[in-house]
């Protein structure tokens, strides 16, 4: 796996992440379409996900929770907006209460996964995430993501470097 590119656009609150995998698009599509495979990679470190529902049709819903290191649970949902397997999946990803009901006051991340077959048999995955607000990120950071965080600063660091 090679991370090709990460573009963070502060103006449109969008991050576009592109990585190359050594597998066909059909195979990579399975890791999203199959809930048992999806839960192996969706959660942040130390927060494995469990999908209790995964309905990959337009208008369908997925429900999941992530289990934290101290036994706490963080619930989430997907609302599927586009399915065009094995090339494109778009969904809104949001937070839910302990009963799995969406929390409207919490932010939503509009996510788009695109798969592209590469010559030579590999696949290119593009994950585009658009945030309704930084609160979604705050939530993820609160779940211990600051551990092992590396500096990958774009524009501000570049400007700071120029100035020194």
């Amino acid at each position: 796996m090679t991370v090709r590119d990460v573009i963070k656009d502060v103006e449109s609150l969008t991050m576009t992440f592109t990585a190359e995998f050594d597998a066909t698009v059909e195979r990579v599509w399975q890791v999203v379409a199959d809930a048992r495979q999806l839960e192996r990679w969706w959660g942040p470190p130390e927060w494995p996900a469990t999908f209790t529902r995964h309905d990959m049709v337009v208008g369908g819903e997925s429900h999941y929770y992530m289990s934290g290191p101290d036994g706490e649970k963080m619930h989430g949902w997907w609302s599927i907006t586009v399915v065009d397997g094995p090339r494109l999946l778009a969904f809104d990803d949001g937070f839910a209460d302990d009963d799995g009901n969406p929390v409207d006051s919490m932010p939503v991340i509009a996510t788009e996964l695109t798969l592209e077959q590469l010559p030579g048999g590999g696949s290119l995955l593009t994950a585009r995430s658009r945030f309704s607000s930084l609160e979604a990120l705050e939530e993820l950071v609160a779940m211990g993501m600051e551990e092992g965080m590396t500096t990958a600063m774009g524009q501000i660091d570049a400007i700071l470097a120029e100035d020194q």
Partner: protein
Amino acid sequence: MALLSDADVDAIFHALADRTRRDIIVRVAVREQSVSALAERYAMSFAAVQKHVAVLQRASLVTKTKRGREQIVHANLVTVARARDLLDSYEQLWRHRAAQIDKLLGEATSDTSLSATPPHPTPTKGTS
């Protein structure tokens, strides 16, 4: 840690989206400056620079104090660092996810004859 409100976040992103405003933050981070000193650096009016400073102020990225007739602009680096860290964190999440997918792709094979072979050979002891 305190969560930022939607409005806070919008203000931060709006503020950082402009090159002049990013430049102002960098300059006042190095050393506090008056609005008029900043205005001399840019090819725009004092009022325009003051407007940029106001946007930064609303996003809590800078603070402004009065010193005599001058308005002095200071950087609030805590907020700047916070916005930056959050985007970096999200990148790290996707790096983690991609690594997990890769692991999954490597181990899950439909060919059962292959899965009979252990992935790593058992290490053998050297001569005793």
